[in-house]
Amino acid sequence: MTDDLARFSLLRGLSAAQRAKVWSTAQEVSIAAHHRVFDEGQDARRCWLIRSGQVALDTTVPGRGLVVVQTLGAGDVLGWSWLVPPRRWHFGAVTLDPVQAVEIDTVRLSALADADPALGYRLALGLFEAVLARLQNTRARLLDLYGSPRER
């Protein structure tokens, strides 16, 4: 099972022993379609490695209701607000279809990382890689590349 976790980029840099430690904080979960996984502002105590299905990240915009800012899918990590204070979700998350995921208890994972800096460093690098990829994709959207040249 721990070898299987290596398919997630977040955990790819970890040794088998380190992945086993992560697995000790995790469980396989199935989440029904259209289920709200968490709300903006709630305490962030878990994260999910998505095996299949899609999850929308959303936020409330006055006059527009809930607006989806990004969708995540297989291989993505859902939730990283647990890593840094104030450890509250910055966006909400709702499944768009049935989701299979590895759910990690991040309170326990953080304790493991604190006790084992080598593990913590690898985890931080994995998370940084995920954050960087999402930042680059967001920057690409900011370029509004598909707009008409007449709008520029």
């Binding site: 989806v68 690409a140 509004d144 008409s148 007449r150």
Partner: protein, 268 residues
Amino acid sequence: MLPVPYRVVARTVETDDSATLRLEPIGARVPHPNAGQFCMLYARGIGEVAISISDAWNGTLVHTIRDVGAVSRALSGAPPGAVLGVRGPFGTDWGLDSAVGHDVVIVAGGLGLAPLRPVVLGALHRRAEYRRVTLVAGARSPGEFLFRAQLAEWAARADIDVELTVDRPGAGWDGPVGFVTEPLGRLDVEPSTTIAFVCGPEPMMRFSANVLLDKGLAPDRIRLSLERNMQCGIGVCGHCQLGPLLVCRDGPVVDYVTAEPLLSAREL
């Protein structure tokens, strides 16, 4: 080099600023194009521009045109019955035949779906000859996808995987939200058996190529369609020069070995 008269027999509005024209020859016809080639379309008394071919059969040409200036406005607004001039087809093609026996990954951004539609149609027409066929297409908003009815048909088929994503979701859109590189990044790709076809704005092609390279695809397995100011169409006038290339003759389709140093240059 003289334009051949074609009549507009159908006009389909695609988005707020683009339309698809079906053209039929009035007399003589231009040679049948290969997927990826372009024609020079002439609006009489206004001018001529290069437009990619989004479908073709039995002498009929289909062009999808965005209104971005005087000539393209005249062309995209041409009603059924209007007569346009056609020269071509010009340039290199996607080389779809060379992808036989491979997984085909098609990555389209915005209007980039127009020159890629013949790739999708060609792969589906000879479906048994290709392995997995995947289309990843991005648009600014749901209403800005080209060929929406056809996309829905393709998405309903079992023999092609269609991943659509938008930068800005609107009311009624419950699909993925994100740049086209995001669903592309989630694809399982077998580098040794995959050929990728990419078209869209140049930064989008560069970012997409980077994702494919990260997945292990060799640069010569990634093909892009370039766009420059094509005028003569036969590599004589030099208006479309991009570094060592005359895009109308040496392109528009090139592999990433050729394109990478050109696309990463600040200005040529």
